[in-house]
Symmetry: C2
Subunit: 332 residues, 2 copies
């Protein structure tokens, strides 16, 4: 009996390929891996937030790396986060909440630690980018990519065999927005305005009831199915690009909303720093696949239409959170 | 400083409510909890698969309860699963794979354990229910619920303030299907035919390359964003209704596809049984909220349009995997 695999990429590579057989169609991951170096964009260390948890029970280090969002998104909260990191404010705080299929949340469990001075109070209008900011390059890119998708769809409708991830951009295919597209390496949705979306691994700002919008001191990341109902209701500031398993595999909290009920359950945070403030040798280095590259278009198409050997029926579409932007460590 | 909550249900309940203030609008969970007992349907013990893992490091029991799908869905594989459970085939096997944001998979890591005789070999046509089976009651319900949604949308278009979870059933709002609806307590999608969908917690059958469809001996559950590209490519046989945290919080495997690389990492399975084969006192008892009830319609509407106090902007829609069917233990 063969080893039954759910996604048999490994098995397919092991199959004998004769001269008569066509080469296997590459998987999305293989398409990304084969992209030219020029399609990969380095992430500046000043845009990385490095969270070091206490070592695990076996003494192994637990580092989580978060990429912060680019302007014009959520910059008020991100400015606060930079100040909190510079003040070493999170050192000695903890992971306080792990709710299955929802979020992991961290910050000050005592609720008494004084915040640094000068943190911004960001209005709710900051949850999305509306008209005045739409001349920003990333927003222009978003709209350009959206038009490009429409053009691809029109080509497809005219009979050319193009298949893309949004099967029909002229009708509503996302229950949460009028349209969706990638830009500058990030997934966005839009109707009136443009906003980042709550996909797996996205990092947001805990808050109290409206009109509170949170300071950025209390953060969470998504560890389940995309809770898109939070879009436009809470600020997103980044995404976990490495080490999410140190958060997603933590024991679930048994209190209300998955909060840990005892101090012993909380996971200590040794430090949170902007990577550029770490010694150079200790700075993580990552790069992402340009969402404006042809490689990404092929990757996204393959995510929406799996033709690699395991699949028998390509879906013909994908929701935006099922097309994660490829990010990898810089190895050289 | 107040304790910043991501979903401040607890905080909102603690707010003082004066006579002048309207009562807070209930959350989806509160709507389900307030449903009359007649809207809850007991799950037969013969439809529950009970997986007991070895106790955790602190000696605590780890029980996972899976509800099997109703006819006419995936019955070939489910028949095999009943035989495997009756033969105690899984006892002594293990959890072998934990891939972050994807699946946990279990079965025989040695790949050498003989299967019981008489297991069915199920054809790929079993991945969906097509025309001949559409007179089955659950399929009729699916189509009836779909028509009901359409009627609700038409009411909404005529100006009545009905807001439902599918903002426009006449256009394509799901990238993966032409339409989607609940029936008999389960989420389904359809185009030509009807099939179950890969939401968080759904349980499927590992397989090798086509035309293999798997026997049911190798099972997985979804622990991340819904991998809907697997729909119609692999059999779904049920869903985890209790104890998924014993799977989703396991350490991620470091081998290809998240497989554990060493025997020591694998989590032993003490036993898997159909609940009706357990002593009565040890049989778990669960019930689900009827998807044909008005309570469920209100619950689904509230999932798509959060109006409880934490939210400032209801989404106006939800994807089907963001409307989990409420399931709870029977307490009396």
């Amino acid at each position: 009996m063969k080893h039954l695999l759910l996604a048999a990429a490994a098995a397919s590579l092991a199959l004998p390929v004769t001269a008569q057989e066509p080469a296997p169609i590459p998987s999305p991951g293989e398409i990304a891996a084969a992209a030219p170096a020029s399609d990969w964009i380095a992430i500046a260390p000043s845009d990385l937030l490095v969270m070091d948890l206490s070592p695990d029970a076996t003494g192994k280090a637990r580092r989580v790396v978060i990429q912060l969002m680019p302007a014009p998104f959520s910059q008020g909260w991100i400015g606060n986060i930079r100040k909190l990191a510079a003040a070493h404010w999170w050192d000695g705080t903890s992971i306080n909440r792990v709710q299955d299929n929802y979020v992991v949340q961290w910050g000050d469990a005592t609720e008494k630690k004084a915040l640094p001075r000068g943190l911004a109070v960001v209005p709710e209008s900051g949850y999305q980018v509306s008209e005045p900011a739409q001349s920003m390059p990333i927003i222009e890119t978003f709209y350009r990519n959206r038009e490009r998708l429409k053009a691809l769809v029109n080509q497809q409708r005219s009979g050319k065999p193009l298949v893309i991830y949004a099967p029909d951009m002229r009708t509503k295919i996302d229950p949460y927005s009028d349209f969706q597209a990638f830009a500058g390496g990030w997934p966005f949705a839009g109707s009136n305005g443009v906003w980042p979306v709550h996909c797996y691994g996205m990092v947001g700002v805990g808050r109290n009831l409206s009109p509170d919008t949170g300071s950025g001191a209390e953060l969470y990341t998504v560890i389940g199915h995309a809770p898109r109902h939070l879009d436009q209701n809470i600020a997103l500031v980044g995404r976990v690009i490495s080490g999410i398993e140190h958060l997603s595999s933590l024991p679930r909290g048994t209190g209300a909303l998955g909060f840990y009920e005892t101090e012993a359950e909380r996971v200590p945070i040794a430090s949170i720093r902007i990577a550029s403030e770490l010694p150079v040798a200790d700075q993580p280095r990552f790069e992402y696949l340009s969402t404006e590259s042809d490689s990404f278009a092929r990757y996204a198409d393959a995510r929406a239409n799996r033709r690699d050997p395991f699949f028998i029926k390509p879906a013909g579409g994908a929701d935006i959170c099922n097309i994660p932007v490829p990010v990898r460590p810089v190895t050289k």
